[in-house]
């Protein structure tokens, strides 16, 4: 949904290798507050996810207290419906939730961008075939299609990752194909073709470096979307399965507490929201830079 409102343009962030870091630093120094907030949020989440076993006071699935114990010194955020420490599960949840979303987005990215590049480079019936298949897949709302496929293949993490990755790669296919089409008509690609370079070489060495900026931005947006979709499916009980600590399912498992005015179930949902905001802020800034500061 976010993708449609942003117009992608090919830009030239790639410079001589030596100045690239300095240029990055110059952009960083000029970055707006929102971008800094975004970077801080993402770094903090990465730290928590990587260091989970050392930060968490208790084990991921360890039963340490009674059901729904309130916040206390021993259990800073109380315990959940089985008596597991809420804070520890939140911390481990960062690891599980983010890694599943990252894995899914990466598969989608490789698949979508690869096929998109191939379609743009080869053209002809290959392009037609891929594009029409993608049209049909995109005509069905993604969450609905995911639900349909999950009901057929059953709910498991592997199925979840593969299904969402395939469905989401259609968006990346569209973007990478359309930006790559602008590049394939340029002279240096023609020169490479005449020189007798293979399709793979042209795709990876000639076209890819020139469309990197827009598709990296798209990667960020897709990550947000995939992250929210997986959270939604887990929340519905069809995504990541217990006893794995995962933010979406934690909201579902502890939702009854809301009726007693307890905000604990909102914490995992808030954690999801905060990370998505962070990534969105960074992507927004990145798009602003790569669109050549048009405004």
């Amino acid at each position: 949904m976010i993708a449609e409102e942003k117009v992608m343009t090919i830009s030239k962030v790639e410079g001589p290798a030596g100045t690239r870091q300095r240029r990055l630093w110059r952009h960083l120094k000029k970055a707006p507050l929102s971008a800094w907030i975004g970077i801080a949020i993402v770094l903090a989440y990465m730290a928590v996810a990587l260091l989970a076993p050392w930060i968490a006071p208790h084990g991921e699935t360890e039963v340490v207290g009674g059901q729904y114990d309130p916040w206390s010194d021993e259990f800073l955020l109380g315990t959940d419906q089985l008596g597991r420490d809420m804070l520890s599960r939140l911390i481990y949840g960062a690891r599980n939730t983010i890694s599943v979303a990252l894995m899914t987005t990466s598969i989608a990215f490789v698949l979508g961008t690869g096929l998109g590049l191939l379609a743009a480079t080869v053209g002809g019936w290959v392009d037609q075939l891929f594009s029409r298949v993608v049209d049909v897949i995109m005509a069905i709302p993604q969450l609905i299609f995911a639900l349909l496929l999950l009901s057929i293949f059953g709910t498991s993490v592997v199925n979840l990752v593969l299904i969402i990755a395939v469905l989401d790669s259609t968006r990346l296919f569209r973007v990478s194909r359309s930006v790559a089409l602008n590049v394939t008509v340029l002279d240096f690609v023609e020169a490479a073709r005449l020189q007798g370079e293979g399709t793979i070489w042209i795709m990876v060495r000639e076209i890819l470096p020139n469309i990197l900026a827009p598709i990296i931005a798209e990667f960020g947006m897709r990550f947000c979307f995939v992250f929210l979709t997986i959270a939604a499916l887990s929340f519905l009980g069809l995504g990541i399965q217990p006893p794995t600590a995962d933010w979406g399912s934690m909201v579902r498992e502890n939702a009854t507490l809301i009726n007693y005015g307890d905000i604990t179930p909102l914490l995992p949902a808030g954690a999801i929201a905060l990370l998505t905001i962070g990534v969105n802020f960074i992507v927004d800034w990145f798009l602003h830079i790569t669109s050549g500061l048009k405004e």
């Binding site: 005509a139 069905i140 639900l147 009901s151 947000c224 929210l228 519905l236 179930p265 909102l266």
Partner: protein, 326 residues
């Protein structure tokens, strides 16, 4: 005028083609079922005879193409086949038609979605136009970053925040939307209020951002610049110059978001236990009741396609460039 009609018919034809392709994809879902599916549904104790009877009942012993035509023909008459939930009792129990399960719930979902749309669409258009009008002002910047943050929220987060404050802490509204067929309009509205509000909040930010982008893009075109240079007022500029050309993108935005509403409904209905088609679909997925899932998927997909089709046609019909043949 001929040109417009021609394009409209082309677009309609494309829409019908898409519908057929999508229905074929949804239908072929049952084709992709793993082999041991019948025993998974019927339980471990199923005898080879019951498995065979079950496969006969869902028609797996007939060729796929024939089954597709039977299925799509049934759908055209409002017959979606029978729910698997009745398959367990193949011997005695009576079959439950999918359409009987879906129809009352579809009505509930439509009421909820249209309630949300009636509030969200005008608000979003107004806010988007205002943000575009006062572009780069404090109002615009505030609305922009706020809505960027807002679209990052998962639906259930917003739903539970509303539930916590409006129904638990201050007890304005009931937290569960347990409507039934005999509830009166007032009762219905009160119970629908929280889910509808969630849907409004979820779609508002998206719709507003897209309206703003569509208008801002237009505002930078030469003919708007021209109008500004000749001294037209801001109001005149937006309403008489920019808006006629913006109908297509705005119609697109609205359709996209109504489509988004259709999906958001799935989650919101589950949070508030609202007896709609989204909740039905999720429970059908959990119990792997494929005919019900297929029917729901087809309804959602058809709605989505029709909304996009409508937006495209509005875009074509309101496009001033097509009025005059070159």
């Amino acid at each position: 005028m001929n040109l417009i009609l021609k394009i409209v018919f082309q677009r309609l034809g494309l829409g019908v083609l898409t519908l057929i392709a999508v229905s074929a994809v949804i239908f072929s879902a049952i084709q992709m079922l793993p082999g041991d599916f019948a025993s998974a549904i019927l339980g471990q104790s199923a005898t080879p005879e019951t498995v065979k009877a079950f496969q006969h009942q869902i028609g797996l012993d007939k060729p796929a193409v024939q089954r597709y035509w039977e299925w799509i023909g049934g759908v055209a008459h409002g017959d979606f086949g029978y729910s698997f939930s009745s398959a367990g009792s193949l011997g005695g129990g009576h079959d439950r038609a999918v359409s009987d399960i879906i129809v009352p719930r579809l009505k509930n979902t439509l009421i909820l979605a249209s309630l949300a749309a009636v509030v969200a669409v005008p608000c979003a258009l107004l806010l988007g136009i205002l943000a575009a009008l006062y572009r780069n002002s404090f109002f615009d910047r505030f609305v922009n970053s706020f809505s960027l943050a807002w679209i990052s929220f998962p639906e259930f987060f917003i739903a539970y925040i509303l539930m916590l404050y409006l129904s638990v802490k201050f007890q304005f509204l009931p937290s569960l939307a347990s409507v039934s067929n005999d509830s009166g309009i007032g009762d219905y509205l009160v119970k629908c209020a929280l889910p509808a509000m969630t849907l409004v909040l979820v779609t508002l930010a998206h719709m507003m951002r897209m309206t703003r982008t569509a208008l801002v893009n237009l505002m930078s075109t030469p003919y708007v610049e021209m109008a500004r240079l000749k001294g037209a007022s801001r109001f005149r500029l937006i309403c008489l110059h920019a808006l006629p050309n913006a109908w297509a993108p705005i119609a697109n935005v609205i359709a996209l978001n109504l489509a988004y509403l259709v999906v958001g409904v799935v989650i919101v209905e589950n949070v508030f236990v609202y007896p709609g088609i989204g909740q039905l679909m999720v429970s059908a997925v959990a119990s792997r009741d494929i005919p019900v899932v297929q029917a729901c998927a087809l309804i959602f997909a058809a709605t989505y396609i029709l909304l996009n089709l409508t937006a495209d046609i509005i875009g074509i019909v309101t496009n001033p460039k097509l009025l005059h043949r070159r």
